[in-house]
Symmetry: C2
Subunit: 177 residues, 2 copies
DNA sequence: CGGAATCCGCCACGATACTG
DNA sequence: CAGTATCGTGGCGGATTCCG
């Protein structure tokens, strides 16, 4: 089975059905986070998006996503199937044909994901701008640091040179004694 | 700088501003996916959720999240700051005090994230059920496989025993010759 | 064609120690 | 308190091979 969900020992239990939504912060390191990590996965997102439009077979998905390895596609599909988000249909024919499609549950997820993606698309430019601004700031700071270091270095060298000269003189003075 | 966004060579460029939203599937392996991977991150989600309620300082976040390493918290915060989602305010005092709070941009994200988390919470049980059903199916299949294998094994042993007996007889018959 | 299994590089993450 | 720097490691993900 390679690596499954690995029912972590940190399973916090669903004893509290009606927990305060305003406090999903601390205790949510149980199942919710895990599910989120799975569906927010890079490939899962793509697969769900593609399957919303129509059912597809393995190779079609592989071609469309282009960049995914067969291993990751198989893994992703099995995960989604396990979570009940996509359904797998095997047509007994030669060559074998397997179709994947979104379950009703998966379809509801799609809307939410779409919202997230839409947000990202809408604010893409703002984020890019913020990033460049941040990077510029950091670069400026680093440059300032380097200039300062260079200055310190220069001063240190000067002092050392003067000290060496003084030492030479001093030793010359003390030698006769 | 350790490891940053690592502007991947796969940067597809934002040349197409008005791309068909219905086809964000294939070409989205550019910036959108990267942004999504960042904000849909396990820790980022938590930090954003926590900061929506009020501004917090480093250690407060650390305590509340509980399970995050100082390294990941620092990384996450710097990422979010770079993306312009949270703002960092340093109060020059002893001991030093740093406050983090959501920017307006980050506040807009919070609603979307909340929607995603809400979806997860709402369908948590369905997913858990689907998983157990899937696991049960797989376990049953594997058990069937093993039973079949055991049967094959028994049959094979029987045949081998019979064959050995025949061989013994045959060799006994052929010895006198 | 649709996978499963194996090998392996690499880096993301965690734990620790040190700085200011 | 609020980080940065360093090291060790687990597992993610890619390439390859084989099976039904």
């Amino acid at each position: 089975m390679e690596d499954g969900t690995s029912k972590s020992p940190g399973y916090c239990g669903d004893t509290a059905d009606l927990y305060d939504v305003l406090q999903w912060d601390t205790r949510q390191d149980c199942e919710v986070r895990q599910i989120l990590d799975r569906i927010a996965d890079k490939w899962s997102l793509l697969v769900i998006a593609l399957l919303d439009q129509q059912s597809l077979r393995f190779t079609e998905l592989r071609r469309r996503i282009d960049g995914i390895s067969q291993r990751m596609l198989a893994r992703t599909l099995r995960h989604l199937e396990r979570d009940g988000l996509v359904s797998r249909t095997v047509h007994p024919s030669v060559p074998p044909r397997v179709d994947y499609e979104l379950t009703p549950l998966g379809a509801t997820l799609h809307h939410t994901i779409r919202a997230l993606v839409t947000w990202t698309e809408e604010h893409q430019r703002e984020i890019a701008y913020a990033r460049s601004a941040y990077d510029a700031r950091v670069a400026a700071e680093q440059e300032a640091m380097e200039r300062e270091a260079a200055q310190r270095d220069a001063i240190a060298r000067e002092v050392l040179a003067a000290g060496a000269a003084r030492v030479t003189r001093t030793s010359a003075d003390s030698r006769p004694r």
